[in-house]
């Protein structure tokens, strides 16, 4: 008896192949002590090459991994998403260098795991089958469990890793259970077949299975994007994790969650809209409210940024309601901008506390404007951008996002979101006040320390990108719109 292997098209998974091999190369080179210093730069180069591969495939017709069972597809959507992940990872590598060096966690595995995580996210974005999605998710999650706990000597880091692991395992369980229900309803794990089942006539039982499956998937993905009520881990884990890892966690892994959500909600489950729209709108408003309100009283900066990232996840949930191409494009655009902003914010903390404690408080920022003018200026740009004040990219992103919400006919939701983003100004501006209008409370140990060049490069890149996109958003807007064009 002959096994017939399905025709496969490796070209469709080229970026993922490059990413996985890059990670493996980094892992192997990391074994040799004498190359230790070169590893971050090797990772950068390899990530850049994977990026070039992805750019190279942009603008073509979607290519499926295999015709009989697609599993993964290389379309503009997955490629743009992969590029966001790669850019985020490259910035993370840059801000990690001095931080990891000072805390002697800069081993090869650190960077290798980072790239493995990116490959997982990329698989999630490219997946057109629940299995490939799950595979990507697990590659991402397992890498993150280790990365969060990388500072073995810090209790917080261990605590964070354990929390994320326990809850993450539960989330994976929910997703698997949801997948099982969906398989039961449609007889397949392929997105297309599930969508087809939804489009056709269906009995009540099947409907219940589909709804249940979607609900369980939403729980799992909601955990990844820290949607209320599955957000509780966020502040603890961000606080405990090494700061660059927290930066990566708040941008990359959240972006991956949203990318999957766009695929699922906007194309696969659009048939169930009536059911999930009320649910998601309530959860989105709750997420925005909880994130913004709790952030008001935080003085630990990593916790503050954690709640702020919860709030931003809430904003990004809003356009799902409009269920239009503009809605999805606005989420992609927001993700790009959000990645630059949050990496900038966490990056400043990472550069600042490379040697000090893991958790910076507001008082650590006091007088930063005169101690490190450039660093303070970058932080100010990032804060104004997170708050959505022009001429920063944050404003453009918010504008595009909320106009998609209004166009979808949800003016009330847009007004609620906008008003809460007004609340957010209070805590973002407090950071600016502390930097420029408060004298340094105490001379911290690293006050006079030199800032790492690589870290500053990454931060300058993000800040300049934020300003440039804030003034000339056209190119990125078009990219975001083109990305969602290929979605069914």
């Amino acid at each position: 008896m002959n096994m017939v292997l399905p025709e496969i098209n490796l070209y469709a998974v080229m970026p993922q192949i490059f990413l996985v091999s890059s990670a493996t190369v980094v892992l192997i080179v990391g074994l040799f002590e004498r190359f230790r210093r070169a590893i971050p730069y090797l990772s950068l180069v390899l990530l850049a090459i994977s990026g070039v591969v992805a750019v190279n495939q942009l603008g073509q017709d979607p290519i499926a991994f295999s015709d009989t069972s697609p599993m993964m597809v290389s379309d503009d959507f997955s490629l743009v998403a992969t590029l966001i992940f790669i850019a985020g990872a490259m910035l993370t590598v840059l801000i990690s260098v001095s931080y990891a060096e000072a805390r002697s966690i800069g081993r090869g595995e650190y960077y290798a795991l980072l790239i493995y995580a990116v490959s997982g996210m990329s698989m999630m974005a490219a997946g057109t089958d629940l299995f490939s999605f799950f595979l990507g998710l697990e590659v991402l999650s397992i890498s993150l469990y280790v990365l969060i706990g990388f500072e073995q000597r810090e209790a917080g880091s261990n605590e964070g890793a354990l929390k994320y692991f326990l809850l993450g395992a539960f989330a994976s369980g929910f997703i698997l259970y949801g997948m099982a229900l969906l398989y039961g309803a449609s007889g397949s794990t392929e997105y297309e077949v599930i969508a087809h089942t939804l489009a056709g006539e269906r009995s009540d039982a099947v409907n219940l299975l589909l709804l249940g499956g979607l609900g369980l998937l939403l729980v799992g993905i909601g955990f990844k994007i820290s949607m209320v009520p599955f957000h509780a881990w966020t502040p603890d884990v961000y606080q405990g994790a090494p700061t660059p890892v927290a930066a990566f966690l708040s941008t990359g892994s959240k972006a991956a969650g949203f990318v999957v959500l766009i695929r699922l909600l906007d194309s696969v489950f659009s048939g169930l809209q009536v059911d999930w729209i009320p649910l998601i709108s309530v959860l989105a408003v709750l997420t925005i409210a909880v994130g913004n309100v709790v952030a008001l009283v935080q003085s630990n900066l990593k916790r503050l940024l954690a709640y702020s990232s919860i709030a931003h996840a809430g904003y990004m949930l809003l356009p799902f309601m409009s269920n239009s191409q503009d809605g999805s494009a606005s989420i992609i655009f927001y993700l790009i901008v959000y990645t630059a902003m949050n990496l900038g914010a966490f990056g400043v903390l990472a550069v600042l506390t490379a040697r000090g404690s893991t958790c910076a408080t507001l008082d650590d920022l006091a007088g930063l404007g005169s101690r490190h003018p450039l660093l303070a200026a970058i932080m100010a740009v990032v804060m104004f951008s997170l708050a959505g004040i022009p001429p920063t990219a944050g404003f453009m992103a918010k504008f595009y996002l909320f106009s998609a919400v209004v166009t979808g006919g949800y003016i009330e939701l847009a007004v609620i979101g906008l008003l809460f983003s007004g609340v957010s100004l209070y805590y973002y501006l407090r950071i600016v006040i502390w930097m420029y209008m408060r004298p340094a409370a105490r001379e911290s140990a690293d006050a006079t320390g030199r800032l790492s060049y690589s870290g500053m490069t990454a931060l300058c890149v993000s800040a300049l990108a934020i300003l440039a996109v804030g003034v000339f958003p056209s190119g990125l807007l078009q990219l975001a719109q083109r990305a969602v064009m290929t979605l069914p």
Partner: protein
């Protein structure tokens, strides 16, 4: 000469200056760069003003470049009679303000110049924008330099004042943002094109009940910045910028609220007039109770801002022209008053009126200038404020006589609190030894104040050039408002149908809600 992109130069030159400042070392050099750039902007503006044709009501010097095509946004600037006057007073006041605070601002001088320049850019951008999106961008962007200016160079508790101001401002602006998006969405629904061009949005027929909410959102954004009672509580802490904000917010009312929401205005205008009159009296009464010079000027600004809003919502030629003149003269008189007070405080380091007295004997030149500014503030005929207040009261009287009567008491109260301040600070015996050694104004300070005085007297004695500059534009504005009322669905209110029966033309300029009492 006219083929130069004059308006863009005026808008963006300060940004270039700010970038240049990053490479300048030393306080003195920074001051010169700041002053030089603003002076250059003023010269450019003078060229622009010289080429301005006042008989045209449409925007002139128009520049239009596609910018964010996917959102239907273009970079679109132009100046009409109203915006050129407001931009003019900005162009004039900026070099004077920098010159006036030459030695007053001594900390972080370079950053101060940078933020002042950035603020000038955003102001000019607001005045010259013909695209609503771009308008909003400048409007919001202004918050950043303002925030730093209040927070770093403000007075006591300044960082909290800055935060308070920012939060007040942002809630108004966010409501406006929602309204802006909704407007573009409505236009897209009606015409299938996405655009933020103001002239196009003026023509949009919006159902009256929607208009009402949109108008409220816009009014919220502007009322906070005017500031109108009860949204004024940030002002006494952040007085530095009050004059600038009055200018901006009133411009917002004139440019956006009036022509876009005629039906809603029929309901809202009398309310706004009432609130403005209340603000006039309230501000004046509180000013009367202050012994701190800065707070007194702040509350007097609230009172004067009430006049401006009153004029705008009189919705007729006199009212609006009066409002614009009043904005210009407020910048001169209140700006002058505040600058003079800062010069005094720099010498004696206290804002308390009681600490002074008898200054006439020691610093006569300063006292003379303070007298002129105080009298201008009071509204003495022959000085600029009189023109504005008079026109506003005439305009309002045609619409709501009772409100005009209430508002007029504000003028009397102004005389009381201003002269009370002047008496305490300047007249009386010289009782305190600290006041004996005060130096009179330097040449630089004299020049700055003299320049302002010149304009105050000039406009007061011969206001025609100012009035003529904006006449055509104000007429066009009112005709636009009127025609919109005509095309709106009938039966919304008595006003719009009656207005529709009136012939379009000069008569229309007398106002649309004349009989809405």
């Amino acid at each position: 000469m006219t083929d130069l992109p004059l308006l863009s130069l005026i808008i963006w030159l300060p940004v270039l200056g700010a970038i240049l400042l990053l490479f300048v070392k030393g306080d003195v050099a920074a001051r010169w760069v700041g002053f030089g750039v603003t002076a250059l902007v003023f010269i450019l503006f003078a060229v622009c003003f010289g080429a301005f044709k006042s008989h045209i009501g449409d925007p002139q010097f128009v520049e239009r470049i596609p910018w964010i095509e996917t959102l239907g946004v273009s970079y679109y600037v132009g100046a009409d009679g109203i915006s050129i006057l407001l931009a003019g007073i900005t162009a004039l006041m900026w070099p004077l303000a920098l010159l006036g605070t030459w030695t007053i601002v001594t900390v972080r001088v370079r950053a101060y110049q940078v933020f002042m320049l950035l603020m000038q850019t955003t102001l000019m951008g607001v005045f010259f924008s013909l695209d609503l999106f771009q308008f909003f961008l400048f409007w919001e962007g202004m918050l950043i330099p303002m925030y730093f200016l209040i927070g770093i160079w403000g007075y006591e508790r300044s960082s909290m004042a800055a935060l308070k101001f920012f939060l007040f401002a942002i809630f108004g602006s966010l409501l406006m943002l929602a309204a802006v998006i909704t407007l573009a969405f409505l236009y897209h629904q009606a015409h299938g094109v996405l655009t933020f061009e103001m002239a196009a949005l003026y023509q949009l027929a919006i159902p009256p009940e929607v208009q009402f909410w949109l108008a409220l959102a816009f009014i919220a954004a502007f009322a906070v910045k005017v500031p109108m009672v009860p949204f004024h509580t940030w002002l006494p802490d952040a007085i530095v910028l009050a004059v600038v904000l009055v200018k901006m917010a009133a411009y917002g009312f004139i440019r956006l609220t009036l022509p876009m929401f005629p039906d809603a205005l029929a309901e809202l205008a009398p309310l706004m007039c009432g609130a403005a009159a209340a603000g006039i009296v309230y501000g004046a009464l509180i000013a009367l109770a202050q012994s701190d010079i800065r707070r007194m000027i702040a509350y007097s600004t609230i009172s004067h801002a009430g006049f401006v809003v009153l004029g705008v919502f009189a919705l007729n030629q006199h009212g609006i022209q009066g409002a614009v003149v009043h904005i210009v003269s407020l910048a001169l008189s209140t700006g002058g008053l505040f600058l003079a007070a800062m010069m005094l405080v720099q010498r004696r380091n206290t804002w308390d009126m009681e600490a002074y007295g008898g200054l006439w004997h020691t610093i006569p030149v300063f006292s003379a200038f303070l007298l002129i500014f105080s009298l201008a503030s009071v509204g003495l005929p022959g000085l600029s404020n009189f023109v504005g207040e008079f026109l506003i009261l005439v305009g309002v009287f045609q619409q709501h006589a009772a409100i005009a009567v209430v508002a007029a008491t504000g003028v009397i109260l102004a005389a009381v609190y201003m002269l009370r301040m002047y008496r305490k600070v300047i007249f009386g015996p010289l009782t305190r030894d600290e006041n004996r050694g005060i130096k009179d104004l330097s040449f630089r300070e004299t020049a700055v104040l003299a320049c302002m005085t010149l304009f105050i007297i000039g406009i007061g004695v011969y206001p025609n050039p100012v009035l003529r500059t904006m006449e055509a534009s104000v007429q066009k504005l009112l005709v636009q408002t009127h025609r919109l009322a005509e095309t709106a669905p009938a039966g919304t209110s008595g006003t719009s149908t009656e207005a529709a029966s009136r012939p379009v033309g000069l008569d229309a300029t007398r106002g649309i809600s004349q009989d809405n009492r």
